[in-house]
Symmetry: C2
Subunit: 139 residues, 2 copies
DNA sequence: ATAATAACAGTAACAATTATCATTATTAAT
DNA sequence: ATTAATAATGATAATTGTTACTGTTATTAT
């Protein structure tokens, strides 16, 4: 019902999200958008991030360490988090098929209906793998 | 290094966790253990829950709605959350094999190393399914 | 131009969790 | 058994991430 009005702050937040392939937190968004809008409020950032999520133009990525990140890429995909550097990286594989298999396995001994899942993968990212290999060689 | 001393409060917290197949939050643990220890502190509950997690005697279950639950069952298994009643239920299927398949699919176009995943399943639990079917018939 | 109001900045309030600290309970040594 | 050392406690203060409030500003429709 309430008509949406345009706002430069919201544009800046959305553009920042789209421009980044990593997954900034509200604080990181705030820090960057503050450069363009020196007295933007942290509340405005939170309000617009939720708003964008509601509009389906961004997605909320709650990590198991309790931190909440935001993703400008709303196409279905899974996330990976590096145990070394905590970076969150998009994974690129056939979500549809794999998820279907995974859900049918999960439904095996369950009397309810499973219609979705949220997964996070963990391990070592390519960057950190390189660093660790270099350290090994130096020994 | 620091020697662990026994505590009745910790026992009560652990026993409560083990006794429950649902997955209480810190507040719920506090509410129940308070019956036996009327002036236990909420801080003590949080402290011991983390401690039990560190000892590998409990696990932390952070849900994507931001709430944090605790599980006395530390054997590897997945969780399901009902969209209707928000209950968290253990799923019983062959984790090892399924996870292996899932991880190898996820690793497809990724140069890092994936060694684990955390997944949450969503849908309708058996209880709520029943209720919804009854409602349908009444129409 | 003007009026209506969505969105703002600034700030207060909030909920969940963690830290502090003086007191109590548990353990190990006498 | 007493005692000494200290882990753990209860009570409370502090912290963090987020949401709500309020008067002002910016956007849109008339």
């Amino acid at each position: 019902m309430a008509a949406i009005k345009h706002s430069k702050q919201r544009d800046a937040i959305k553009n920042f999200l789209i421009s980044r392939k990593d997954h900034p937190t509200a604080e990181v968004v705030y820090a960057h958008v503050s450069r363009e809008f020196p007295n933007i409020s942290l509340g405005t950032v939170y309000r617009n991030l939720s708003f964008l999520v509601d509009l389906g133009q961004a997605s909320k990525v709650p990590c198991s360490d309790g931190s909440v990140h935001f993703d400008g890429n709303v196409s279905p995909h899974y996330h990976f988090q590096c145990r070394e550097c905590n970076a969150i990286i998009d994974l690129d594989f056939d979500v549809k098929k794999t998820e279907k298999d995974f859900i049918s396995a999960a439904s095996e001994n369950f009397d309810g209906v499973i219609d979705g899942n949220v997964s996070f993968f963990y391990g070592t990212c390519p960057e950190c793998l390189k660093k660790l290999n270099l350290l090994k060689k130096q020994e």
